[in-house]
Amino acid sequence: MGKSALITGITGQDGSYLAELLLEKGYRVHGLVRRSSSFSTGRIDHLYKDIHENPGLLLHYGDLTDGQALTNLVLSLEPDEIYNLGAQSHVRVSFDQPVYTLMTDGVGALNVLEAARILHQKKQVRVYQASSSEMYGAVLETPQSETTPFNPQSPYACAKVYAYFQTVNYRRSYGLFACNGILFNHESPRRGETFVTRKITRAATRIKLGLQKKLFLGNLDAKRDWGFAKDYVEAMWMMLQHNEADDFVIATGETYSIRDFLELVFSKLDLDWQKYVEIDPRYFRPAEVELLLGNPSKAQRLLGWRSKTSVDKLAQIMVEHDLELAKREKHNQSFTS
């Protein structure tokens, strides 16, 4: 029998790519979804359609803050691997909702570890915790590696640091195979539309087709290490196949400013970004993380993983995808009017 995995956050960008990868590898994939009166499965609908031929993917209602329902689910599914990707993942929003963010990203991760710890008494289970480069915050050294101390700058990052240390703690205290993937920014056409890269590619393509006039952004000088989400979920899987549980930085090792990304995207569409972009202070974070640059050499050395997609290629992929979306939107407009 093939392996089985439980993915929290399966409806998100990484969850959907990871589900695809694991299904390709013959896993039986279980996903945890929050109940909502509007369906939130847009990113995995294409995987779910084949349920009658290939029941590889199953969704279960639950919530990271509901520890008992989560434990019951883990004990009934007995997955070989658990990927905890579910979170309130928006840094700016975490300043408005610090308590909810900690409950979901911090205590939620603890609930996953507790469930795994109980299952661990019966069978081997491996846990992946989605840690984040945001944990480095006001960075104490550049580039950042697995040994760089954390210095979080947002409620989101504080919660992620908590989850990080609990993951390490469960590995040391209970011998649980639990890994932190410290992922630097990773984008894709499935990135949420309130994140800056996707906001830019959506806006640029809509501007190109005359569907939008302006793009409002916050700080253009923040520098990020941007990779392609599809490459990064592969690293998650590799960590859990490694012979020893460990923590890994996953990054490209290159950094670009938001301004650079704007330039890349707009020039692909033969547009001059300066004509369309306006600064709105609403989008400034109360405390900004100025420069993130990861050193992925440990993952290269031990896992044989490296980022395959350049930021230029990434921008290209996102622009192509969003241009299609914009065309469809334009078509629908002519249809409804």
């Binding site: 956050g9 409806t11 998100g12 960008q13 929050r34 109940r35 909502s36 009166s37 509007s38 369906f39 939130s40 847009g42 990113r43 209602y61 639950g62 919530d63 803050t65 509901d66 008992q68 329902a69 309130q88 993942s89 928006h90 929003v93 408005d96 909702q97 610090p98 308590v99 909810y100 409950m103 949420g192 539309e193 309130t194 629908n332 249809f335």
Partner: protein
């Protein structure tokens, strides 16, 4: 007038915002953060630049997050507060009882606690549910019928319903329960039985699907139309005194009848297309559910007019239109 709506992305929340915006209200909705920006019921209003950011606002929060709710409320200072959010699926509440209780029962208590400190407190409407009656021995049910829930959802709603009374009587809040019987619409969630049926009837008509799988079709419900229910919710908060009201049509139908109306509307015979599966049956099926909305009729001047046949037709037409567009 300024109103806050929890559950604004849901069926009732979206119709209520429409209703209030049309009456000149400034509407503030509370939404949960999600990585998907899918709020299909609100798209039309959020994309309307003359409304969004001017008279319609969305705020991120969560019924479990007291501090952010408090901050939002003290900033907005609303005149009216419509609390419609909750884990609203009864069947699912047997699978996720703890989070259902957390959101539906505790979530309501948290809001009442915040309102208690706000001066002047907004008028508060809680969308309660006929599920608080469970399987009633008295039919029809009115505002004095004893609560006797038989699902985790019903138990959570009963708790919230009773707390609303407590805060009205002991803290002097203008707080009311709208005890709603089933109310459907083209915006009903796709995993509720009426909508499942309307989507299936439309899909089968268009030849893009073959069958519909259901649990019990003999279940009896008192079904109204959501657009009429949100009108009543608003009327409740315009009364001189706060009171609880049953909102219901007073007529009952079986799932079978609804199915018949829906399939007949597109010239199909449901018997040829429906299969049964135990999986969709509830652990306990409520019986004798019929609401007596005499008080709402008398005091609010509210009388639901849309028949079940009209409702079924409205829903099937909507799904036909939608499926044609995406096909």
């Amino acid at each position: 007038m300024r109103a806050v709506i929890t559950g604004i992305t849901g069926q009732d929340g979206s119709y209520l915002s429409e209703f209030l915006l049309a009456r000149g209200y400034e509407v503030h909705g509370i939404v949960r953060r999600s990585s998907t920006l899918q709020r299909p019921r609100l798209d039309e209003y959020v994309n309307d630049q003359t409304l969004y950011g001017k008279r319609l606002f969305l705020h991120y929060s969560d019924l479990t997050d007291t501090t952010s709710l408090r901050r939002i409320l003290s900033r907005i200072q609303p005149d009216e507060f419509y609390h419609l959010a909750g884990q609203s699926h009864v069947g699912l509440s047997f699978e996720i009882p703890e989070s259902t209780c957390e959101l539906t029962a505790m979530g309501t208590l948290r809001i009442l606690e915040i309102l208690r400190d706000i001066k002047p407190a907004p008028r508060f409407l809680h969308a309660s549910s006929r599920e608080i009656f469970g399987t009633p021995t008295i039919s029809p049910q009115n505002e004095d019928t004893p609560v006797n829930p038989n699902s985790p959802y019903g138990a959570a709603k009963a708790f919230a319903n009773q707390l609303v009374k407590v805060y009205r009587d002991s803290m002097g809040l203008f707080a009311c329960n709208a005890i709603c019987y089933n109310h459907e619409s083209p915006r009903r969630s796709e995993n509720f039985v009426t909508r499942k049926i309307s989507i299936a009837a439309a899909g089968i008509k268009l030849g893009i699907r073959k069958e519909l799988v259901l649990g019990s079709i003999d279940a009896v419900r008192d079904w109204g139309c959501a657009t009429e229910f949100v009108d009543a919710m608003w009327r409740i908060l315009q009364q001189p005194e706060p009171r609880d009201y049953i909102l219901a049509t007073g007529r009952t139908h079986t799932v079978r009848e609804f199915m018949q109306y829906a399939f007949e509307h597109v010239g199909l015979n449901w018997v040829e297309h429906v299969r049964f599966d135990q999986k969709f049956q509830r652990p306990i099926e409520p019986e004798n559910l019929r609401g007596d909305a005499a008080r709402a009729h008398r005091e609010l001047g509210w009388t639901p007019k849309i028949s079940l046949r009209e409702l079924a037709a409205m829903m099937v037409d909507h799904d036909l239109e939608r499926l044609k567009r995406t096909a």
